[in-house]
Subunit: 239 residues, 2 copies
Amino acid sequence: MKPTKESIEPPLHCQFCQNRSQSAFHNLGTDELDTISKLKTCVAFRKGQVIMHEGARPQGVYCIHRGKAKLFKIGSEGKEQIIRFATNGDLIGYRSILSDEPISASITALEDTYACYIPKSSFFEVIEENPKFSLNVLKLSCHELGEAGKMIASLAQKTVRERLAEIMLVLRATFGEDEEGYIDIKLTREEIANMVGTATESAIRLLSELKDEGCISTQGRRIKLEDRAALRKIASVFE
Amino acid sequence: MKPTKESIEPPLHCQFCQNRSQSAFHNLGTDELDTISKLKTCVAFRKGQVIMHEGARPQGVYCIHRGKAKLFKIGSEGKEQIIRFATNGDLIGYRSILSDEPISASITALEDTYACYIPKSSFFEVIEENPKFSLNVLKLSCHELGEAGKMIASLAQKTVRERLAEIMLVLRATFGEDEEGYIDIKLTREEIANMVGTATESAIRLLSELKDEGCISTQGRRIKLEDRAALRKIASVFE
DNA sequence: CGATTAATTGATACTTCTCAAATCCTGTGG
DNA sequence: CCACAGGATTTGAGAAGTATCAATTAATCG
């Protein structure tokens, strides 16, 4: 019997949030954080639960406190395309609210996730009255626009093998490693394929290839990068 | 003997610019437009000329007054990937400046183009002191982020044929039609291929297919949409 | 621990790319 | 204004890359 959403008490004050330094709230003053803290509520999502649904009109944004989520679009054949991930300190739902368009991607929790919810009206209030925060969000969306551009070029020009190698590096950069050196995210082969933009079987075959070549090793769904230089070379990442 | 850049005199005051209503400057007051007008200079680019170069650090943004430009990234094989187009009223270079990253895409003029140049410092000044303008740019980047997401899903999941049909519709929506009903942009087959993310020969073959099916007709580089419903169907655009 | 879902592998079909050759067109200079 | 050179377009053929379908094995969740 899982509740759709679970309220968490007591919500942590934004000022003391560990993610603050790397979030859109990083350079705000005490007063400003106080305003946001008073407006927010905290919620929990279980693994697999839908956080936002493609096509809907969100009534607020979430700032992820702890957890991991995927943003994806459903293609005409019902296949998922993962656009990006979100984890600690990341803001989700803001794009739709600010551009006044329906949500362009569904968001589901990849593991149990705790997030702070800021209602639309409050979010706008802070944006409009706080140029510093507004500029932060502006920087954020411009950065993501750059990342999206990279993804477009990659999908259009690289082979599946190259994209897979690239994704391995992206996953490590996004989620880091656990104490044993494995990338700290568990994805199914299907999810990996949905990120690379290929069939599950193709992703599996090429993952095996990378294993045979000693670039990566796996243990179930856990993946460890064994030779990042080789992966960078395969991915043609010169940046 | 073509000048690299040509200064245009006298620059039109932003208040009287025909593009204003559909630009990021649409809802600004007279005073605010006055500030920007005083800070800007007007420049002209000839067809084919580079407006901004991938990897560079732009010193300002351009607002296109009249003309057309393509934004593209160069892949590891030297192949162009067109990310998007810009035309009358569109702002370019802002992404890089706001995210404080090198330019993610080169921009070149597809035809003779006149643009207003706003230096970085002035742009920031207006952004920081004018919440309305800041919010406009924020909306703009969030909208483009949504478009980029669509392009990602399209590249990852659709066939070349489907993407080509989609691009035909996008081109018409972006550039409109001339008096004879042709899309008001001239692109080489290679540029079309670089947008769709395919080989030039493949784009040519599939364009011929669309012609044979009566979806489009062509006259040199000019393209006319003859059956948009059919194109929408091929592109699986249900939106 | 068992049912169900996920991962893997093989075989085959289809899509797309690459290379090559033959027009065709465009922009330039005379 | 015309001719011409060089680039662009088109078509064909074959190779390579990916997807799909099917069957088996492995892993996961309750």
